[in-house]
């Protein structure tokens, strides 16, 4: 598929003038997992190994992304598709600079922001306090945080059934938690925006609201990446799509082409 990108780049005479915002150059990402806690690996087995001096690899490596390369340009919206565990979220984290690549490099324009629903906050704290913490963690000033906190709670809609904002987050349903996390993450405008399945969050009413918000964010962002299993929203928002399978870039091209190939596999 690498040829396809190249031929595309050659075909467009303006290719040289387009401004790249993200360059992913042969990126490999490897997770290291310590198997110390595995079930078949009890204390007696470990002791036996030490006594008999047999070497078992205690660390398992999961090669999540295997040599992906592409270039994203100013003003592009790129969809990222692939089956579960194909390395989409991992690739986004690497682009955001949150997960270092084992090999290769990612070059970015400005600081990309990852907009996900996985932002871990403190479950023992009230929703409102989590909003304040989340905003501060994104680098907002305390004055601005104070200003936007009511808007975020309003947007997330967690107060629709009583005053949930003052209750600890562990009392929330999983949908409510995800909605609040999305609302926090979507507060800020970003240069390069990486959206991880955010549109699939919450009930229908919230989804409509969040799609609207993402569209606004897109208008202000230079480049947008969207990871989703809903091909519909990818077709709606992205003109280019990258298909990852098993950590390898399988296809990169216009959304319609790639989506059709993905559906027909």
């Amino acid at each position: 598929m690498a040829e396809q990108t190249q031929s595309k780049a050659n075909a467009t005479p303006a290719a040289a003038e387009r401004v790249p915002t993200i360059i992913v150059d042969d990126v490999h990402v490897i997770y290291r997992i310590h198997k110390g806690a595995a079930a078949n690996n009890g204390a007696t087995a470990a002791l036996k190994r030490i006594v008999s001096r047999t070497k078992t690899p205690n660390i398992r490596e999961v090669h999540a992304v295997k040599g992906v390369s592409f270039t994203a340009y100013q003003g592009e919206a790129i969809g990222l598709i692939g089956s579960n565990g194909s390395g989409k979220s991992t690739l986004l984290r690497t682009i955001a600079g949150l997960l270092p690549p084992a090999q290769g490099a990612v070059y970015t324009h400005g600081q990309p922001s990852l907009l996900g629903v996985n932002a871990a906050l403190l479950n023992d704290l009230s929703g409102e306090r989590n909003v304040v913490l989340g905003c501060l963690a994104m680098g907002m000033s305390p004055e601005k945080v104070k200003r936007v906190t009511p808007d975020i709670i309003e947007f997330s809609g967690i107060n629709e059934r009583g005053d949930f904002a003052s209750l600890p987050m562990r009392t929330y349903s999983s949908g409510m938690g995800a909605r609040l996390r999305f609302a926090i993450a979507a507060t800020k405008d970003h240069d390069v925006l990486l959206i991880d399945e955010a549109l699939a969050t919450g009930d229908r009413k919230f989804r409509a609201r969040s799609e609207q918000r993402v569209r606004e964010l897109r208008a202000n962002a230079g480049t947008v990446f969207l990871v989703s299993h809903a091909l519909g929203s990818i077709r709606d928002t992205c003109e280019r799509t990258i298909w990852l399978e098993g950590g390898v870039l399988k296809m990169d091209g216009p959304t319609d082409e790639v989506c059709n190939a993905y559906e027909g596999r």
Binding site: P20, I23, Y31, Y107, N118, D124
Partner: protein, 300 residues
Amino acid sequence: MADTAVADLDSRPSPAELAQRHGLRVAGARPPLREYTRQVWAYRHFITAYSRAKVASSFSNTQLGQLWQLLTPLTNAAVYYLIFGVILSQDRNVDNFIAYLCTGVFVFMFTQSTVANGTSAITNNLGLIRALHFPRAALPVTVTLVQFQQLLMSMVVLAVIVLATGEPLTLRWLLIVPTLLLQTIFNIGLTMVMARFGAKVTDLKQVMPFVLRTWLYASGVLYPVVLFRDHLPQWAATLLEANPALIYIELARYSLLESNQDNLVSPPAQLWGMALAWAVAMGIGGFVYFWRGEKEYGRG
């Protein structure tokens, strides 16, 4: 033929060259030390809010809640007093053993719990690290500040114990402020070292309780420090007297305990010098050491 090859190369430069030409930077690259320091300072509001939230959430599943901040040091002091003061009657050489013991326990607990929690500062927050951008040094600093708030509570308890056991309230009490500030700087540095180390070596968390227990016994918390000179060879005693935990504990005793002025392990001037040296060396050294690993923390 050669010409076209050159033209081809020109039209498609290597990714690194292309990145440089358009001013792109490597994602997640480590900022220079000065810039990093500025970032940590810019995140001070996050650090204070996060540590306050941690304190609030730490007892949120208990019925007595924040009262445990007072009860924990009190219980600790009671247990140690029972064993070392009553059962082993270790207090032969010390006039006011309860106050002596409590000062040592509370000041040591500050360093101990900071280090114990700091070892997992990165591993426990991996979710946060993989979701958001912030200078990772905020995490070990937060750990230290959480324990600092616990320390302030312990100091209230300590003040009551010290006064109740008949020590006078003197102007020298003010010296507890610089003592604890120096200890805090030392702790931040040490926590940063442990956090980076603990992120790499995950087994460290299991070993730390034993290391800290050993450190406790070597810090003159539970027995009179004069025993060092009586029982140990010269070199070992000298080594133990340079122990930073011991130095901060002795300075706290020097500030608070009128009855203990003659039993200090070293003269006050020497204690202050060593306390300052440890704080500066560990504070700067720990920060630089932690900064050098900044890129790697997301890997886990």
